[in-house]
Amino acid sequence: MFKCKAVWNKLAPLVRASSTLCLQNARKSVLRHGRRLEMVQKAQMSSGPAGGGGENTLYYVLVGATCLGTGVYAYRTVSGDKERYNERMIDLVNRPKQGPRAAEAVTEVVAGSKEEPVEEPTLTEAPVEEPLVTEAVVEFTESKPVTEPLVEASIPEPIVETLVTESVVEASVPESIIEVSVTEPVAEAPAVTQSEEPLASVVESETKPTPVIIAAHVPEASPVSESAAVSEPAPAAEPVESTAAHSDVPEHAPYLLIGGGTASFAAARSIRARDPGARVLIVTEESELPYMRPPLSKELWFSDDPKATETLRFKQWNGKERSIYFQPPSFYISPTDLAKVENGGVAVLTGRKVVHMDVRENKVKLSDGAEISYEKCLIATGGVPRNLQVIDRAGEEVMKRTTLFRKIEDFRSLEKISREVKSITIIGGGFLGSELACALGRRSTDLGLEVIQMFPEKGNMGKVLPEYLSNWTTEKVRKEGVNIIMDAVVKNVSYKNDKLEIKLKDGRLIETDHVVAAVGLEPSVELAKSAGLEVDSDFGGYRVNAELQARSNIWVAGDAACFYDIKLGRRRVEHHDHAVVSGRLAGENMTGASKPYWHQSMFWSDLGPDVGYEAIGIVDSSLPTVGVFAKATAKDTPKAATEQSGTGIRSESETEAVAVTLKAETTAPPPPVQQKEDYGKGVVFYLRDNVVVGIVLWNVFNRMPIARKIIKDGEQHADLNEVAKLFNIHED
C-alpha cells in the first residue's frame, strides 16, 4: 500500500503538467495498477501453507507408496542378481573349453569415477563384440539392471589387484583408456609382463581359462569378475587366427608414432631422453628404418664411392662418413620385445600402414587388421609427391617413365636410370627439382646424359628467392650442365617412338627419355576422417595448435602438420630441420611439457659446391625484400664451411648443434679470386608489415643464431643495413 502511494506521488507532478485527458488516463491507469497490486497481495496471501486438509493426506499416501515400491523393486533386483550370479558361477565352473565362437568373455570393469578424472583410469566397456558373449554383472550403490554387453559402473572404491593401476600419476595423462579383455579359450595370452613405465603401469595377471574372480569389496558379492590383461582389444575376427598372424605386432604401445621419417625419429629420441624407460613404437609403411632425406638429392649423388647407392653411406668433404639412416639396426629393439625389455626402447614396425584410428578407444588399426592401443600418439605421416595431372592421365607408358622422387627406392631407381638413358627432364624449379638437376647435371658429361629442367617461373627457386638471386641461381645451375627451360607450362605428355614427348603451352616440344616430377608434396591426411581430425584448407595437413596437438593425446609433426607459429602465424613447413624441431617438440609435449613451437627451424640448399644458402622463417619471393651484399672470396663456399666447422654435413652443424667449439682454422690464405657475380655473399631480409619474417644467408654460414634472434624479436628496424652489420658478412 505504501508503494502505491509513492508511485502516485511521483506521477502527480507529471499528471498535473499534462492535459485533462491524459490526467484522467493516468489516473485510471494508476488506479488500475493499484488494484492489481492489491490483487497480487491477496493472491500471495492466499497461497499460504494452510491448504486443504484433504490434499495433505493424499500427498503422504503417494510418497509412502513410492517408497514402498522402490524398496520392493530394489530387493527383487538384488536377489534376482544374486541368483543369476550363482547360476552363472556354476555354469562357468562346469563349462569345458570351447572354440572361439562359443567363448565367453568375461570383462571387468575398471574403476572409472566420472568426477575424479585424475584418480582412476576411465573405463571402457566390454570390447566384446560378437561372437563373444559378454556378461558382466555389476552392481553397486545404484542398482542398475544388467545391461548387455555394455557395462559401466562408477565404483566408489577402486577395485584392487589385477586392476589397471593408474597411469595418471602425472597429470599429463588425463585418461588412459585401456581396454581389458580376456577371451576365454584363447590360449595366446598376451605376454605377461610387468612394465614399469611411470606413465602407464599396467599390472597384468596371467590369463587363465577360467576368469579370475576378484570379489570386489562390495558386500553384496557382486559378480565382478575380471582378469586384467593389458592388452589390446582382440580383433573382432576369430581371435586365435588373428593373433597368430599378427604375432609380431605388439598390442599396446604407450607411445605410438605413426610414420617412420625424420619427425617421428626426432620424437622417439626426445621421448626416450625425457621419459626414462619409455617404450616407443614406430609404425611405418616403408620397409626401411628411419632415415634422413636431404642426402638423397644432394650428397649421395656427389659421392665418389660407387657403392654409395647400396650402402647409402657417403663421405663428406672432410672425410667423415655416415649413413643416411639415423641409427643402425642395433639401436632399435624388436616390436615383440617392446613390452618386455627392461629399460624400454624404440621399436620399428615396417611395411605396415595405419588405416584407421579410433580416438575414443585410443587405438589404431593396421592394414593387415592388427590393432594397437596407445596412450600417446604422434602422427608424422609426411606426404606423397604430387604429380602433374597431365602425366597422371597420360597412360601407363608415360607413368613407367616418370619418377616421383621421395624415398630411397626412388633414389636408387633414378640413379640406375641416369646411367641407362640419354635424356632426363625434371619438371619443377623448386628445391628438389633444382637440386636433382644440379646432381644429374654434374654427371651429365661423364654419362653422356642430357639434363633438362623446366618450370613455369622465370628462374630456379623463383618462388623463394628475389628475382636477382633467382637469376643468379639459374645461371649457376646452367653451369652445372643443365638445359633450363623457363616459363614452361606443361600441356601434354605422350609416348611416341620410344621417347616421351612433352608439349608446352607455348607450343615448344621437348623430347626426352625419362621425366622426374618435382612439383610439390601432398600431405598425407588419410587418418583425418576416422580420427575426426581437422584438415587445414589453406595449407593442407592436419590442423594443430601451437603445441602441435590435434586432440587430446594426439600430436602431429613434420610435413603433415599445419601448426600455429606464435611469431609467424599459421603455416606448414616441408623442410628437414622443421621435421627435426617439430618432432622433438612433439616428443617433449607427449612427455608432459607444454611448449609451443618457438625455436624457429631453418633450411638450406646447396646447388653444387659453389652455391649455397641457409634460410629461416617465411622466405617467399612475393614479399618485399632488402638484400645487403659484399664481395665473396674463395672461402665463402659450402665446401669451406664444412671444413671449417669440422662437422660432416652442414646440416648437422645446425640441427645437431654439436657441442664442439668452432676452431678457427689456420690455413694459408686463399689466392684472391675474382668473382664476376655481384651477389657473392650477403643477407636478404624478407619483410611483412616492415617486420623481418624471413632471412636468407647467402653464402654466409654459421650465422643462423643471429638470424633466428632477429626473427624472434619481431621488431620493426628502421635501417636494415644496421641489422645486416650483425652478421659480419665480410668475415668468415
Binding site: 622417439a268 629420441r269 626426445s270 626416450r272 631422453a273 625425457r274 626414462p276 667423415k320 655416415r322 649413413s323 639415423f326 641409427q327 643402425p328 642395433s330 639401436f331 629393439i333 629399460n343 626402447g345 624404440v346 628475389p466 628475382e467 636477382y468 616428443g587 617433449e588 609451443p596 618457438w598 618485399p624 625484400t625 632488402v626 638484400g627 645487403v628 651484399f629 659484399a630 662437422t647 648437422e652 645437431e656 648443434a657 654439436v658 657441442a659 664442439v660 667449439t661 655481384d678 643464431p705 643471429i706 634472434k709 632477429i710 624479436d713 621488431e715 628496424h717 635501417d719 636494415l720 643495413n721 644496421e722 641489422v723 645486416a724 652489420k725 650483425l726 659480419n728 658478412i729 665480410h730
Partner: protein, 146 residues
C-alpha cells in the same frame, strides 16, 4: 663506398664494403630472458639439471645404453669430489660394458669415453664430460648478447 641500387620497387639491394660495416651496429635487439620456458636450452638447464634432450648429446641418452649413460653423466655432473667424477667409476664402468655390447652404435676408439661418431649420429667427438658444453650452447644461442 656503399651505394643503393634501386633495382625494383619491391626488392632493394645494398652493396657494402668492409669499411661500411666497420662501425658497430646500432640495431636494437631485445634482451633474452635466460629463464624463458619456451626456449631451447643447452646442455645444462637454468636450474642446473642436465638437459637430456639437448641435440648436442646425439642419441646418447636415448639409445640402448641410455640409462647407463644418464647415470654416469649425472653422477659426474653432481660430483663434488676434488677430482670431479672420481666417485663415479662404477657408473662409467657399467656404461662402458653396455656400450661394448653395441659396437656398431658406440664404436670403440682409442679414447674409450668418446661418444659414437660416423655410423651413428653425430655426437661430440671428444668425450662429453670434458668438453665445455655449457659455453657452446650459450654462445650459439646468444651471440648478440655478448
Amino acid at each position: 663506398m656503399s651505394y643503393l641500387n634501386i633495382f625494383m620497387s619491391k626488392d632493394r639491394i645494398i652493396f657494402v664494403t668492409k669499411e661500411d660495416h666497420e662501425a658497430p651496429s646500432n640495431a636494437e635487439l631485445i634482451e633474452d630472458d635466460p629463464n624463458d620456458p619456451y626456449e631451447d636450452h643447452g646442455l645444462i638447464l637454468p636450474n642446473g639439471d642436465i638437459n637430456w634432450n639437448c641435440p648436442c648429446l646425439g642419441g646418447m641418452a636415448s639409445g640402448p645404453c641410455g640409462q647407463q649413460f644418464k647415470d654416469a653423466f649425472s653422477c659426474f655432473h653432481y660430483s663434488k669430489e676434488e677430482v670431479k667424477g672420481s666417485d663415479c667409476v662404477e657408473n662409467f664402468r657399467s656404461m662402458q660394458e653396455c656400450m661394448q655390447k653395441y659396437p656398431e652404435l658406440y664404436p670403440q676408439e682409442d679414447d674409450n669415453d668418446s661418444a659414437p661418431s660416423g655410423g651413428a649420429d653425430n655426437a661430440p667427438s671428444d668425450s662429453v664430460p670434458t668438453s665445455s658444453p655449457e659455453s657452446t650452447p650459450a654462445t650459439t644461442e646468444n651471440p648478440a648478447a655478448s
